[in-house]
């Protein structure tokens, strides 16, 4: 959901259709609702409703189409253009949508994206974002919401969408636990699991909540960049696009850089794993072997984690 031109279709085409940001300017306004079934992790079918944001459509979603639109909603993502001049109208529609959800899909998760953050000067982004968060939380009343600042031109989009899809993977914590065991077996600092087509992060070996981390936690010891996950998604996605321009397909990557050693390889049919090692003695060949040996286990786990 979100006003016309706020960027809903652009995001969808980047995350789920692997289109580059530069092509989004060619998108036309979405007419009514565009429904998309996207396969995520192979067996999880996401039914994505991209709702055209022009007033006439919005009015009809809230009236005649109301039960159709707001029933069986797992997640509502409401997109606000950070530069909108009609914030009050936006907020009014937003409140009406929340009401629709309360009526038909009480359990739905609500994500609010303050989009096109790239248009705000870099120095002012934090302040502008904080102000929007306060405004949006106030408008949300009782409903718990998660707010993200996003732009199709940087990694922030991947951070928000990773968090969105994570609410749809019931057993992510269990995956995390096994990644931790696997990381130990590889002498890895960190292991990250990505969904294959979107390259969104679905689990990591590090505790999701940093307050859970303890001083011997390898990630804490190395004080890694806090934006590394979403940046990795962004980097790999854009490299995959470069490959496809040559009609090639990206398979795997091994790095023995001055900073670290890493292997990015297929874990299961629907996931990729990134194993990051700082110990200079560990060779990529050993990591690859470990990945190969862990494949069966993770196929099973993934099967389990989706049955909910």
């Amino acid at each position: 959901m979100g006003a016309s031109g706020s960027g809903k279709t652009s995001m969808r085409s980047m995350i789920f259709s692997n289109n580059p940001a530069s092509l989004t300017s060619r998108l036309g306004a979405t007419i009514d609702v565009e429904q998309n079934h996207v396969r995520f992790l192979g067996d999880l079918i996401l039914n994505l409703w991209d709702c055209g944001g022009q007033d006439a459509f919005m009015d009809s979603y809230l009236t005649t189409q109301r039960p159709t639109i707001f029933s069986h909603v797992g997640v509502m993502i409401y997109v606000f253009d950070v530069e909108t001049r009609e914030m009050n109208k936006d907020l009014e529609y937003y409140r009406d949508c929340l009401e629709g959800l309360t009526q038909f899909s009480k359990e739905a998760n609500v994500f609010l994206l303050v989009h096109k953050m790239d248009l705000v000067r870099e120095g002012e982004r934090a302040i502008v974002f904080q102000r929007k968060v306060a405004e949006l939380e106030k408008a949300s009343g009782e409903t718990a919401v998660k707010v993200y600042g996003t732009s199709i031109f940087d990694e922030s989009l991947y951070k928000a969408w990773s968090s969105i899809v994570n609410t749809l993977i019931p057993n992510a914590r269990n995956l995390s636990k096994h990644l931790r065991i696997f990381a130990e077996a590889c002498s890895a600092t960190e292991v990250v699991l990505f969904e294959r087509t979107t390259f969104l992060v679905i689990a990591t070996s590090s505790p999701a909540d940093s307050s859970e981390s303890f001083s011997s936690d390898p990630v804490a010891v190395h004080a890694l960049d806090p934006k590394r996950y979403e940046r990795t998604s962004e980097l790999i996605k854009s490299f995959k696009q470069s490959c496809s321009r040559l009609r090639e397909e990206f398979n795997s990557l091994e790095l023995e850089l001055a900073e670290f050693t890493a292997v990015l390889d297929e874990m299961t049919k629907n996931t990729y794993v990134l194993v990051v090692v700082h110990n200079p003695v560990i060779e990529t060949a050993a990591i690859k072997m470990n990945i190969q040996m862990a494949r069966r286990k993770f196929e099973e786990l993934q099967g389990d984690s989706l049955v909910s």
Partner: protein, 391 residues
């Protein structure tokens, strides 16, 4: 090749001591807002293309130094500069790059270019003229070709009007844009004409390709993403783009998982000092050997396969050289794009058949070592020369 008249002396203070380095000078010309500063900033200062929008107009000549296999000095000029207001003789420059906005078909840029060509030819017959028909991504393919052709034609006509003798002046035209890698490709080609040791670098790459069945290999400057040399097979634009994107990804990946722990052991692993090749058999290809003997030395080197060695033995490698590889499909038998840093700022990028990379890793690594030693030697010679001539 450069003549000595196209070179001059610049003093550069380095590491506290005064070492005179002789820099090869490149003059960047063009009318206002044609994109000169953008080109310079995107190539040598990592400015993202989109941010060139915010660049201020250049008011005075700005000299930028850039060190790669040869030390360069790039002069970014204001749009209204003339031969007289330049403040240096055109004899000092090895190359003039003239930037024309592709949508700008009018008299002004062409007259200005012709004025500089005429003046330069009188004092420096060996100077290279390069015309960047810039902002090419703004036009559709057909218009792009048509405008490119028209600009070319106008320049040649105007020169012929000036005097028939100028018809012989070699001009090189390139289509460029900061939004894709056409800029890197064009500038690489400009650079190739200035590197005296180019044939030796090319030989090394040819030998590498021959020995490893590689269809294409480049020696890249990692900071600017310019390639200093490639093997003799033609450069396909798509392959060049992929290599640039790959390099971009690798340089962005490094800092992401960099350890910020104190005293991280990896930091000290990379040593830029030359090491002898792993065995004492034929001496490494040297700068002075003729192409054919270089070739023989490498072809004869026994292809040994350290991948058969126990892991411990391979861990014993005394020095650490960053490397990476990515495998691609479905091309058969699959392509692996390999990356090996050979000096702190130069990397060998090669397309390899995946079968070779997987099954004969030792052969590849062996050839990388040879290549690395060869490049190091050339690099040393270049450095000595620019220092010696600078004193």
């Amino acid at each position: 090749m450069m003549s000595s008249s196209s070179q001059s002396y610049v003093n550069a203070a380095k590491h506290g001591q005064n070492i005179s380095v002789q820099r090869t000078k490149i003059l960047l010309l063009g009318t206002r807002r044609s994109g000169k500063t953008s080109i310079q900033q995107v190539l040598f200062h990592h400015l993202p293309a989109k941010q060139t929008f915010y660049l201020e107009p250049t008011m005075r000549v700005a000299k930028h130094e850039f060190d790669t296999v040869i030390p360069l000095e790039i002069w970014d000029c204001p749009g209204n500069i003339t031969v007289d207001s330049l403040g240096a003789s055109l004899a000092d420059f090895a190359t003039i790059i003239f930037v024309i906005d592709i949508r700008d078909l009018y008299q002004q840029p062409v007259s200005k270019l012709v004025e500089f060509i005429v003046a330069a030819c009188q004092v420096n017959p060996d100077i290279n003229f390069e015309v960047f028909v810039h902002k090419a991504e703004k036009l559709q393919e057909d218009d792009k070709i048509e405008n490119f052709r028209q600009i070319h034609e106008r320049v040649v006509d105007r020169l012929a009007d000036e005097s028939p003798e100028y018809e012989q002046v070699p001009l090189n035209f390139h289509l460029t844009s900061v939004y894709d890698h056409s800029l890197q490709e064009a500038f690489s080609r400009v650079l190739h004409k200035l590197i005296d040791s180019l044939p030796y670098l090319e030989d090394l790459l040819n030998v590498f390709c021959l020995n490893t069945s590689s269809p294409k290999a480049f020696l890249f400057d990692t900071a600017s993403k310019l390639y200093l040399a490639t093997d003799s097979s033609p450069v396909d634009q798509a392959t060049h783009n992929l290599c640039c994107d790959y390099l971009q990804m690798l340089t962005s990946f490094g800092p992401l998982y960099k350890s910020n722990a104190e005293g991280d052991i990896r930091a000290h692993l990379f040593s830029p000092t030359p090491t002898p090749p792993p065995t004492a058999t034929p001496s490494p290809p040297s700068f002075s050997t003729s192409p054919s003997s270089t070739l023989k030395a490498c072809v004869q080197s026994p292809p040994h396969t350290p991948s058969n060695l126990p892991l411990d033995a391979r861990n014993a490698k005394p020095l650490f050289y960053p490397s990476a590889a990515t495998s691609l499909s479905p091309s058969h038998p699959g392509t692996t794009l390999s990356y090996h840093l050979v000096t702190p700022h130069l990397a060998l990028l090669a397309l390899l058949p995946t079968t070779i990379y997987d099954m004969r890793r030792g052969l590849v690594e062996w050839n990388v070592v040879w290549f690395r030693e060869g490049v190091r030697e050339i690099w040393e010679v270049e450095k000595e020369r620019s220092n010696a001539e600078g004193v």
